[in-house]
Symmetry: C2
Subunit: 307 residues, 2 copies
C-alpha cells in the first residue's frame, strides 16, 4: 500500500533555474493529497506527479504567501477544463475565501465543480481531515504570517488473524469477529489463547510531517514526535542564521535539531533560497548531518517512499 | 540593433508536459516587452529569457483568460522581492484593475514599486505605447471575451548622411541639419543635390504582430499588413475546424490565410491545444505551408530574430 511523497517544488519565493516553488503531493494508497500550491504546480504534476486528477480531492495550504499559493489558480481552471464535477477541498487560512471569491469572479466562468473551503486555525493543533485509513492534523508554525504544517498519519492497522489459527482452532465467523476486535479465544477444551498469538497487524502506520514555512521552534518537535519522514524547511545555510531568524525561516541545522528532538526517522530539507544553485544543496545535507544523520535533500520531481 | 522574440510559452490552457501557457518576450534594442503572462512566466524567463529584470518595464495582456494571466502574480511578487523601485506598466483590459486590487490586498505587503495600469479598449485599434524608436498598436481580435493583439513596430529610421558627401560638398553643421530633415542641398556653385543622393536610412523598420486568442477574422490582416513576423494562434489542426470556431480559436490554415492576406513576411504558429504532443506539431507547419510557405512553429525557449 503506497505511502510516498513526490516533491513538485523545492524552492523558496524567487524562481531558481531548475527549482519550482513549494508544492508536494502525497500518495496514500493511490489517493493524492496536494500540499501547498506554488506557481507551476500543474506543470510539475504533469511532468512528475503521475497523478490521476480524479483522485486529487484535497489541497492543504500552509500559509498565504504567494510562493505557496500562486499555482492554485491555474490548477482550479484546469480541473474545470477537464470537466471535473466532484467537490475539491481546500484546507487553508480563512482569508483564502476572499481570495477565491475574487478569483472566481473573473476566472470562474466555466467552473464545473464546487470548491469547498475548510478554514483552519493555524495556531491550534487539530485534526482537520479523517478518512478510513488516515488523519491530517495541523502543526502550529512560527512565521511572519499565520502558518501551520500538516501531519499525515495512517491509522493503526486493523487486526488480521493468522490463517493457520483459523484452521487449528476451527474458528467460527463469530469467533473471528470477536478475535479481530482484540479478544482472546477460549477453545472447547477451555484453553485460553491470548489474542496476540492469533493476530497480527498487516502494517505499521506510517506518517509524514510537512513543516514550512517556519523559524526554529522547538514546540514543532512535540507535534511530529516519531514521524517517519519530517519535511522541514531550510531556507538558508547556517552562516545566514540571523537572516533566517529575521525573515521567519530556518537553517539546515535548525531543521536537523527539530528532527533530532522529535526522534524522527528521516529528515527532508527544502524551501531553499534561490541564492543557492542546485549544485550547492549538498551543503545543506552536510550541515544537517552533523546533528541528524538521516537527512535528505528535496529535489523537484523526486519520489520519497515513506516507511 | 536587436529586434527579436523569445517564446516563453507556446501552449493553450491545459498544461502540456513540455509546453507552458502563452508568454512572449520581445527584445527591442535590449529593452524587454512582455506579451501575455501565462503561469510559470518567471520560471521561463529564468530558463530562457536572459532578461535583465530592470529593463522589463512593460507588459501587454491580450485578454483576461487565465492561461494568459496567471503568471502575473508570481512575477509581480518577485519584482518586489528583488527590490524594484521603477514603475511597472501593464496594458490590459480595464477589469485588470480589480484583479490587481484583490491580488495586492493579500499579496502586496512588500510592494516596493508602483504598478501603472493602462486600460485598453480591445475593440479600437489604437497606439497605446510609443517611445523614441517604436510604437505598439492594438489589433482587435475575435474571441469569446474582449481580446486584442499587439503590433510592435519600429519607427522609420532617421536619415543618415554619407560620410563621403560631407567631405565632397564641405557640408556645415547647418547644412547637415537641413539635409537630415530631408532637404536637398544647393552647392556654392548653385548645383542642387537631391536628398536621396546624400542620405540613407541605416535600417528598415521591423515589426512584430502578436495575435492570440482569436478565431479566423479577415480584418486582422489589414492591421498587420506587411508585418515582418506574424504570430497567430493555431490551437487546432484543420480537422477540428468546427471546434476551433465554436471555442473562438483558429486552425493552422486559418492562421496561414491571415498571413497570406496580410502579405506577412513570416508566420509563427502557437497556442497549441494540449491534445497535440510536441512531436505532432510539425503537422501544423505542414498544413499551414500549403497556404503560406514561410511558416514556423513556436517552441518554448526558442529565439526568433525578426528582420
Amino acid at each position: 500500500m503506497t505511502f510516498s511523497l513526490t516533491v513538485l517544488g523545492s524552492n523558496s519565493a524567487l524562481p531558481a533555474k531548475d527549482r519550482f516553488a513549494t508544492a508536494h503531493v502525497l500518495n496514500v494508497r493511490e489517493r493524492y493529497f496536494l500540499i501547498d500550491c506554488g506557481e507551476g504546480v500543474q506543470m510539475q504534476l504533469k511532468r512528475f506527479g503521475n497523478v490521476k486528477y480524479s483522485k486529487l480531492d484535497n489541497l492543504f495550504i500552509s500559509h498565504l504567501h504567494g510562493d505557496h499559493v500562486f499555482g492554485l489558480f491555474g490548477l482550479l481552471s484546469s480541473l474545470a477544463l477537464m470537466g471535473r464535477t466532484a467537490d475539491f477541498n481546500i484546507y487553508a487560512h480563512k482569508n483564502m475565501g476572499e481570495i477565491l471569491d475574487s478569483h472566481l469572479k473573473y476566472f470562474g466562468e466555466n467552473m464545473s465543480y464546487k470548491i469547498v473551503l475548510h478554514a483552519i486555525d493555524p495556531d491550534a493543533p487539530k485534526i482537520i481531515y479523517e478518512d478510513y485509513c488516515m488523519t491530517v492534523k495541523t502543526i502550529p508554525l512560527k512565521h511572519r504570517i499565520p502558518a501551520c504544517g500538516f501531519l499525515f498519519k495512517e491509522k493503526t492497522a486493523p487486526l488480521n488473524i493468522y490463517k493457520e489459527a483459523i484452521k487449528k482452532y476451527g474458528l467460527s465467523v463469530a469467533d473471528i469477529t470477536s478475535i479481530k476486535s482484540g479478544n482472546a479465544h477460549t477453545t472447547a477444551a477451555g484453553e485460553v489463547i491470548p489474542n496476540e498469538k492469533l493476530t497480527y497487524r498487516p502494517y505499521k502506520p506510517r506518517s509524514y510531517a510537512f513543516c514550512s514555512d517556519t523559524m526554529y521552534c522547538e514546540e514543532i518537535a512535540e507535534h511530529v514526535a516519531g514521524v517517519n519522514l519530517l519535511y522541514h524547511e531550510a531556507t538558508f545555510l547556517e552562516n545566514l542564521k540571523q537572516m533566517a531568524h529575521r525573515t521567519g525561516h530556518s537553517t539546515s541545522v535548525d531543521a536537523a535539531k527539530i528532527a533530532k528532538l522529535a526522534q524522527a526517522k528521516r529528515l527532508l530539507l527544502g524551501h531553499f533560497s534561490s541564492r543557492y544553485s542546485s549544485n550547492m544543496l549538498y551543503l545543506f545535507k552536510e550541515e544537517a548531518k552533523t546533528v541528524f544523520p538521516n537527512t535528505e535533500i528535496a529535489i523537484d520531481g523526486q519520489n520519497y517512499d515513506i516507511f
